[in-house]
Symmetry: C2
Subunit: 192 residues, 2 copies
DNA sequence: CGCGACGTTGATTTGCCTCAACGATTGTGG
DNA sequence: CCACAATCGTTGAGGCAAATCAACGTCGCG
């Protein structure tokens, strides 16, 4: 059932059989359908989500009704509104399924228990978070130092699979441009 | 000597006396002078830095020679090129002292040892990193969804102390605008 | 004093947005 | 099975935010 998750954990830490059991016991399986909202502000988000199948995104809905995608996540990734999850405040971000799929849900109190019983999980998440910070810094740098053309090129290079899997307006909302402008970028690039 | 650091750790985790000793033993004290580079690409960065006095920044120098400030850090904060520190790759970012000050230096191998002897440090850094991710997401969102005026207003509101402590062109490089444009923003705001 | 670092201001250009109109595709109900 | 609406992508005209380039003012410091 939880093979993908356990393998993922074992990339970073070593687990005993009882560790695996305890982790498995803490997880719930949930089917999600395309366009389903897993987290919807201002509800409180007290669950982490590991994706076993499908694709989800984390986005912010601003006052003008525009969606800004902060992250995509596919098989093997975690996704949640981290701030709401850890502070207990109302969520600011939406988490939405972009395809039919399946996720493993981990409630905050279960995770806190696991941090006690399986301390290596602290190390696991520390390492995951390290990598997130590195990516976020890179992305921030891209946004403030390059044009949309270059951001698009890098996106395609870095996530070739997502390029085909996602509609164009979602990629635009991730790059920080309007769908119209991304369309023009692609037209311009095709012209050479 | 390491009071500020120990207090900071104890905000998130509890430490025994021997923990405190071991941590203290792993740290080195280093004086830094204004404009001094602590990390300079492409050298390898294998040290974490806790600031006991002064102010430093993390920045990227692009091909056109423009500096993009990713973070400021003052007393009580850690600063390093996280990617280089953990992967061992050459550094991409500069770390520069903006004032005369003092930092506590922690070498990577010492930190790895500490993670074994004081496992609670995993929890400590996990929590720090959580907070970093939350801030980075907010900042990313600001950059892609608001104008420079609003980013500046939020910066002043969030870091009123830094506003006075830093020259304006550094703030511009943090906000992702040119110094000229930030000057115009301030002039426009003063006019009302 | 005189130089260099920092900030200001203005003219011009450019990247990207807004708005609007128009295909292409998909899916859905009659 | 077709009609129709909804969704998504494309294209163009015009506008605004911010960059670029250049000149000038000011201050602190060797």
């Amino acid at each position: 059932m939880f093979n993908l998750l356990i393998q993922n954990l074992q990339k970073h830490i070593t687990l005993t059989d009882t560790d695996v059991e305890q982790i498995s016991a803490a997880m719930q399986v949930k089917k999600v359908r395309k366009n389903q909202l897993i987290i919807e502000p201002p509800e409180h988000c007290n669950t982490e989500h590991f994706i076993s199948k499908g694709c989800l995104r984390l986005y912010f809905l601003d006052e003008q009704g525009i969606e800004h995608t902060l992250a995509f996540a596919t098989e093997g990734w975690w996704i949640t509104d981290l701030e709401s999850f850890f502070t207990g405040d109302p969520a600011k971000y939406h988490v939405e399924a972009l395809e039919d799929g399946e996720i493993f849900v981990l409630k905050k109190d279960k995770l806190e228990e696991l941090f006690q019983t399986v301390p290596a999980l602290n190390t696991y998440f520390r390492k995951l978070y390290q990598n997130s910070i590195i990516s976020l810094n890179e992305r921030l740098l891209n946004v403030i130092s390059t044009t949309a053309d270059q951001r698009y090129i890098r996106f395609v290079k870095k996530y070739p699979a997502l390029e085909n899997r996602l509609p164009q307006y979602l990629i635009a909302s991730y790059l920080g441009v309007t769908p119209e402008f991304l369309s023009k970028i692609k037209a311009r690039m095709a012209r050479r």
